[in-house]
């Protein structure tokens, strides 16, 4: 009987136990699928156009306020609701029913049409710093464009009147080569719009579509699965068999403690593989693109990185097992670590570049984040071997070191358990 056969027998047994355990099915299959669906439906929706719910209250009785509302609607940036009461509009805004609100003061039409300065007040709901900033940008952008268009219209009207009433100024003006009708028209238009600006959004070369973003997130979900499964398997490696009553019997057979651990590690990787297949299948179903190419070494390196991330977390789980005396405690510790880790490590969302310091710096050197991040850059963005290979030695070294420390702790825990 070779050691390999015994390990495979243990792996097969553990896999059967896992697939018959409803909680494992939830965490290994349902949970990642939920994450992918949430990603597709909520965080990466089909349309990238943002539409704000906007309220408008007009104290003005003229028709120019209607022009403004019409401009809001036709911009497609706002879904407009007209209020007859200012307080009611502000109440809805502060309650979060509106994203933005516009107050048109009395005399708005008169001042605007007479060519006088006029006021218009906008409000933005503070949902959180990021969205408030985004909403503010959208409103300011709209108001800038509206004001500019309005200024140009005014200038055009001014030019029209000038042509009628400023008879001394013609294209062949005797006064100055710059003081003629054409130049004056341009000068007036320049007053209305001194600098024509434009801003273009440039996406990363390979991140050009929703499919790529979804692909990136699908690989992140596999990383998260490695996090949860790895910590869980590592932290319960001893106590689970102890609680089932099978530990002593297993170790009274020719199985060595290391073979037992190898069996558990392989079954964990098998569960993650099944989870990954389900995750990718659902991801593809909702439109993700996975850049896997069997002939490209980068694709296989990415898979290796994900497996190493799982081994890294099994090692961390084994270290945790020294303080977890029951599988319930182990699971509780796993959850307490995994959930905050998911949002602060850069493995899920936000990615490392969006994390605040010092989390960002930590994410950039955290081998698990590096492993998952490089894998998703290859399989999600479609980057090549250059994007992953330089990081592979670091990931291998970190996973090996943490796993070896975990094995040492495992041996201590096992000895303690057998002696009780």
């Amino acid at each position: 009987m070779t050691s390999i056969k015994r390990i495979l027998a243990l792996t097969s047994k553990d896999l059967k136990l896992s697939l018959r355990d409803k909680s494992v099915i939830f965490w290994a299959i349902i949970f990642p699928i939920i994450l992918v669906l949430l990603t597709a439906l909520v965080w990466v929706p089909n349309s990238t156009q943002i539409t704000l719910k906007a309220g408008v209250y007009s104290a003005d009785t003229g028709n120019f306020s209607e022009v403004f509302v019409s401009a809001l609607n036709s911009s497609k940036l706002f879904r407009v609701r007209v209020f007859s009461n200012f307080s009611e509009m502000i109440y809805d805004l502060s309650s979060g029913y509106l994203d933005a609100a516009f107050y048109i003061p009395k005399g708005f039409t008169r001042n605007a049409t007479m060519g006088f300065p006029t006021n218009l007040k906008a409000y933005v709901f503070y949902r959180d710093p990021t969205t408030a900033s985004t909403y503010k940008g959208i409103v300011e952008g709209f108001l800038y464009r509206f004001t500019r268009e309005f200024a140009i219209r005014r200038a055009e009207i001014a030019i029209k009147y000038m042509e009628i009433y400023a008879g001394n100024i013609t294209d062949s003006s005797p006064y100055d080569e710059y003081f003629n009708l054409s130049m004056t028209k341009l000068w007036i238009l320049g007053l209305a719009s001194p600098i024509n600006t434009s801003v273009e959004v440039v996406k990363p070369k390979n991140l050009v579509s929703r499919a790529d973003i979804l692909g990136f997130m699908v690989i992140s979900v596999i990383g998260i699965e490695a996090l949860f499964s790895g910590l869980s398997v590592g932290s319960t490696a001893v106590v689970e068999e102890k609680e089932k009553g099978t530990l002593r019997r297993l170790l009274a057979s020719p199985i060595t403690p290391l073979e037992l651990l190898a069996g558990k590690t392989l079954s964990c990787l098998a569960v993650i593989t099944l989870s990954a297949i389900a995750t990718v299948a659902v991801g593809l179903g909702v439109g993700a693109r996975i850049h896997f190419n069997a002939l490209d070494p980068a694709s296989w390196l990415a898979i290796l990185h994900l497996a190493l991330a799982a081994i890294f977390f099994i090692g961390v789980g084994l270290i945790i097992s020294i303080i977890a005396r029951t599988s319930r405690t182990a699971e509780a510790i796993t959850m307490a670590i995994a959930f905050p880790y998911m949002f602060t490590s850069g493995m899920w969302w936000p990615p490392p570049e969006y994390l605040p310091e010092p989390l960002k710096s930590f994410a950039l050197i955290n081998p698990a984040t590096v492993a998952v991040d490089t894998a998703r850059r290859v399989l999600g963005y479609g980057l090549g071997v250059d994007a992953i290979l330089p990081k592979t030695p670091i990931v291998i070294a970190a996973a090996t070191i943490v796993f070896i420390i975990g094995v040492s702790v495992y041996k201590i825990v096992l000895k303690k358990v057998l002696e009780t």
Partner: protein, 311 residues
């Protein structure tokens, strides 16, 4: 007859706690041997050392003349071990459990299936073997655990408190199974704290107390150690704290055991001494309800040797 299991000068310490003190024991091939003692006597520790789960602080252990410490892997093939807990997985069927344990040893599938069929029949598991173990009763789980420990056809079967937690009917079933296994030539070593179990099943018994083996022999040999004493059990209506004090002067060696309302004592000549005991009890205001005179049991042996009860 060759020795199946030998302990020579085995001691075990857990920190400052001494679990075993210089244990010497020889268990012969083909016998059913019981380690009898209360909880904490060191029975489980001794069995764990025999199986190779823990190492002794000092001493030597040999299984069929193979050194447990030096050739642990070889010894594991010779031993079938049934710990106190059930060793089977609730989520698997009985058959899957047995096939799994078979796969841990070098057993070809066809041989494993043959053995499973044989042991399933012997242990009365035919009806249940394809069901998930989670639906088994405690007795069935224990039987399946024994089958799982026999799957590699070991010469020595070690059972730690096999009947603890079982109902009387399941316990009797298990006794019958163990007797059948002995008839098949297996050497069986079991730890128990039930004297009636050791008396009914064991060819020889080792009595353990506080990490020491205090006596070894057949049940009859051990009972003879109680000598010509007569066991007297007096059930009283109103046990009083002074009951022990009243009875002690009459009992051999001053050894008296009180369990609930029953007083147990040892008399050298009960014809003359018993009336005095009754008189003493009545004088102390204790009313005897029933009086039983009997032969000694292993519990009496334990009491005589250690001065305390088993339970």
């Amino acid at each position: 007859m060759a020795n199946a299991l030998v302990f020579r000068g085995v001691s075990k310490k857990f920190g400052d706690v001494v679990a075993l003190r210089n244990v010497d024991l020889e268990i012969r091939e083909g016998e059913l041997f019981a380690l009898l003692g209360p909880n904490g006597a060191g029975k489980t520790t001794l069995l764990k050392i025999a199986v190779g789960l823990i190492q002794p602080s000092s001493g030597e252990v040999r299984v069929f003349d193979v050194d447990v410490l030096k050739e642990s892997a070889e010894v594991k093939k010779l031993i079938g071990y049934v710990p106190q807990e059930t060793i089977v997985y609730d989520e698997l069927t009985g058959l899957e459990n047995l096939m799994f344990y078979a796969s841990l040893y070098d057993i070809p599938k066809s041989v494993a299936k043959e053995r499973i069929s044989e042991y399933v029949k012997l242990l009365g598991l035919e009806e249940y073997i394809k069901r998930r173990v989670g639906k088994y009763s405690g007795g069935l789980k224990k039987r399946l655990s024994i089958a799982a420990s026999l799957i590699h056809d070991p010469k020595l079967l070690i059972l730690d408190e096999p009947t603890t937690g079982l109902d009387p009917s399941s316990r009797r079933d298990l006794w019958r199974i163990l007797q059948n296994l002995r008839k098949l030539g297996k050497t069986i070593v079991m730890a128990t704290h039930y004297t009636e179990e050791a008396e009914a099943l064991a060819d020889r018994v080792a009595i353990m107390n506080e990490g020491r083996v205090v006596a070894v022999g057949t049940p009859n040999e051990l009972k003879r150690r109680v000598g010509e004493l007569t066991i007297v059990k007096i059930e009283v209506a109103n046990p009083k704290p002074e009951l022990e004090e009243v009875a002690r002067p009459y009992s051999y060696g001053g050894k008296v055991l009180i369990k609930d309302t029953v007083l147990r004592m040892y008399l050298e000549n009960y014809m003359t001494q018993l009336p005095k005991v009754i008189e003493g009890l009545l004088r102390a205001g204790v009313k005897p309800l029933t009086i039983r005179v009997s032969e000694p049991t292993l519990e009496d042996v334990f009491l005589k040797l250690t001065g305390r009860g088993l339970m």
